[in-house]
């Protein structure tokens, strides 16, 4: 779904970004007309999002039925099982019904918010997702905030003094970290900072989200303590993308006349950057921020695995290996919805950031 939704977003961004051909004085258009245009634009985006969601709902049903493998065979393999038990499994999962009937039942239930019952965990899919979602959001949300802030901060500084030693170091380091496999970096951090190597003591837990048996404040401290290494891993691997996008967008603005004007007014270099250049260069970064925000829900399978984080990424992997169809469909639907939602939000926000969008 990411692939489906992203292009439109990128196009929008390209149109709104550092385009130099905007009609001069467009802001003078009558206010009423602008509002109508904006509402029409919003309606169009919302309808688009709704259609996408429906498409996701339908595809998720058929897509995962293409996975080879029989869930019942997987769940009964390797242990004594009678023919009656196998038949009972099929009945319980509804796999004995014809495909069209399975599909209509799935759609009917999905519209009422019921995503079915997980084959392997015997609980409603919604329960399983709501159990793991907060865990994932704590991890990915924290990392998202940090790597976005770090990426923008370093990106703008890199661009401002592009070509300098700082820029080269910054970009080089970001690119290197960006190309490092996250699970490898994670393991390295575990070995050095968690177990302890040489003079470095073991500072952090090797995995998991909590030690268990703690409550209230001690629990929060415990989770924060467990959070440090996975967040550091994610930030290290992810901030490069934001840095590079911010840097190149700002570089496009660098030669602009309005910056010369600002300087001519006697503004300090810092202020020229912060108040004039960066706001104009930020649109592509905003696009990226929303794409990343949509991804936060999907979790991060590799990092979750290395640090044994009980999140949605690991759950998705487990669901796929059965395949636990209701769980896979449910997760896919939730992941895709998050991306669609965030892209729609970004779409709605553009006209506010740049009035040329949506005319």
């Amino acid at each position: 779904m990411t692939a489906e939704a992203t292009p439109s977003l990128v196009e929008d961004a390209a149109a709104t970004g550092p385009a130099k051909s905007g009609p001069a004085g467009a802001g003078r258009a009558p206010r009423a007309r602008t509002t109508t245009a904006y509402l029409r634009y919003v309606a169009g985006k919302l309808v688009g999002a709704a259609v996408s969601l429906l498409a996701v709902l339908v595809t998720s049903f058929f897509l995962f039925r293409l996975i080879p493998g029989d869930p019942v065979k997987f769940m009964t393999g390797g242990r004594p099982v009678s023919a009656e038990q196998i038949a009972a499994y099929r009945r319980e999962f509804g796999l004995d019904l014809p495909m069209w009937q399975q599909f209509t039942e799935y759609c009917g239930k999905a519209l009422t918010g019921d995503l079915g019952t997980s084959y392997q965990f015997h609980v409603p899919v919604m329960d399983k997702i709501t159990e793991a979602l907060p865990n994932t959001l704590v991890l990915t949300g924290t990392s998202f905030l940090l790597y976005t802030a770090l990426g923008i901060f370093l990106g703008t500084r890199s661009a401002w003094r592009h070509g300098g030693l700082g820029d080269r170091l910054n970009t080089g380091l970001a690119l290197t970290l960006y190309s490092i496999p996250s699970f490898w970096l994670g393991l390295l951090l575990i070995i050095v900072l968690s177990v302890g190597a040489g003079p470095v003591p073991g500072l952090f837990p090797t995995g998991g989200m909590e030690s268990g048996g703690k409550e209230g404040f001690a629990y929060i401290v415990d989770v924060v303590h467990h959070l440090v290494l996975p967040v550091v891993t994610l930030v290290a691997v992810e901030y490069g993308q934001t840095l590079l996008v911010t840097r190149s967008a700002l570089l496009d603005e660098m030669g602009s006349d309005y910056l010369t004007t600002a300087r001519a007014k006697g503004l300090r270099d810092d202020l020229v950057r912060r108040r004039h250049a960066v706001p104009n260069a930020l649109l592509p970064t905003v696009t990226l921020i929303f794409v990343n925000l949509g991804r936060t829900v999907a979790g991060v399978i590799l990092v979750e695995t290395v640090f044994s984080w009980p999140g949605l990424g690991g759950l998705f992997y487990q669901a796929l290996s059965v395949p636990d169809l209701p769980l896979v469909q449910g997760l896919f639907f939730v992941f895709a919805s998050a991306v669609i939602l965030m892209n729609t939000l970004a779409d709605l926000l553009y006209p506010l950031l740049d009035p040329r969008v949506g005319r």
């Binding site: 038990q85 015997h122 703008t156 070995i191 073991g202 309005y258």
Partner: protein, 636 residues
Amino acid sequence: MNTQDQHGRGRTGPRPRRARLLAATGAAALVLASGLATPAASAAPQARAAQGAQAQEAAKAQKDDKSGGKVLTVAVAQSVDSLSPFLAVKLVSTSINRLMYEYLTNYDPKDAHAIPGLATKWEASPDKLTWTYTIRNTKWSDGQPVTAEDAAWTFNKMMTDEGAATANGSFVGNFEKVTAPSPTQLVIKLKKPQATMTALDVPIVPKHVWEKVTDFSKFNNDKSFPIVGDGPFVLTDYKADSYVRLKANKDFWRGAPKFDELVFRYYKDQDAAVAALRKGEVSFVAGSPSLTPAQAASLKSDKNIHVNEGPGRRFYALATNPGAQAKNGTKFGDGDPSLLDERVRHALFMAVDRKAIVDKVFQGHAVEGQGYIPPRFSTYFWKPSSGQELAYDPAKAGQLLDEAGYKKNSDGKRVGKDGKPLNYRVLCHATDPNDKAVGKYLQEWWAKLGIGITLDCLDNVTDPWLAGKYDLAFDGWSVNPDPDFVLSIHTCDARPQTPKDTGATDNFICDKAYDDLYAKQLAEYDPAKRADLVKQMESRLYDLGYMNVMAYPNAVEAYRTDQIKSITTMPSSAGNIYGQDGYWSWWSAVPADSGDSSDGSSSTGVVIGIVAGVVVLVGLAVLFTVRRRATAEDRE
């Protein structure tokens, strides 16, 4: 250009100062983090006092102070599917169930023969159809007595409720009627004689708790703690993919466990689990299914870690397609017809160097394959006599193929009856590196015989396998103390009814002599006579040449000797620890004097974390002040 000017000017004033805002957010996060951390540190004064000391010791002191008990922490990777004994099928869950609920019988840790569990003794009627068990006088963890009625209710529920039969329904398939004529007497009437009545691996649950359950297919037994049981441990807390906590049942009839608490913690990555063991966060790592040779080698150098290597319960084999056929007589699949000739199968057997596989692929962490059942089950272990053995002998293999009429052509390739060179498709599991490595060797060895092979390594081998669309396939099963199940999967009856159905068969084997022996052993209640019949079956299976057992992979596990002083393996002379048939390992584990596993939240770590947080904060504060001053100067 106008536009840009407009932007620039328009936004200068009221625009939020983005960079500063972001930095402020970051700082706020840090304040939050260290703010949260500080009170905890002061809440554990003795931990702060021990700041200079080892992190582990500090954490230990803190914990001993809190719970006053020894904790045994075990690293696991597999998710719990359900804690309900009626639904759980994954190894981690059934192992935990075994700790929570006593079964009728247990297996002796020495040689896995059936010994008393909840039943103190048992007896079969002369017609072999009625079994009477005497139930032990013991108590559930809530103080209620355990009675035969609990056992009868458990079995009856599985016989009448489809949901309750989900996991263990096959055990009651042959039951006619189960009753409890008195609180200490359980009577099971069978439809046909069944020799496996001392191997009913069914957790007996308390009726007074479970009769309140309405839907057995959805009840997971993981909401209200502690969970009432009568096993060596009582489950007190569970959080999916984080931990399972159990506390020792001090009133356990066989004696209380030596550790006070048993915790299963999740490490989804095996290298991370090994790191946790090195650090002392966990006392034991089993690996799934085993530690890698590299991990074992690196752990051996640690003086506080013992690497335990014991014979595994699995066999690793190469199965041959015997021409798939359904019970109704329909043939299907496309197995190579040359494999129907026993001489060809024997030739393939003899061209496999099992010793090389153990040495090169398993790097010594396996035992060379012989009979069908692994040697750890000494009662049923069988190996071919020297005259019967199909030892590695490529020259003789070539002769056999010549005799069978598969001669080499001018290119040195054996030619099939259809005139085409022989080329076998070998199904392999893409997820198992051993399959691929052994496949390479087979390619080399069989090429010398003049036979080509194509390795089909798939993520999901089930589909071609069930359709009979393969010539040979990598195969392997875990064997139980009672061999009935692994023997049953090679009977004619296990095959699917029609090609469309799914049978219980492993490999479509159907042999009358084998089937006759299978029926005999199932009705033989004398253990020695039954073992003899089972060995005859293994001999028959070996001669057929459909199952080439190449190796029995070892279980390689590791534990900290400064946390666990001793632990029972199964078999006790040399065996494995995790996933035993029984609760022996965790029940018997003796804590070392120096203590237990630390829980990983070392207070030194927290302290240093806070210091780091404060340093960053101060740095940020300085930065901001400097900048504010700069801006202020600017304004002037």
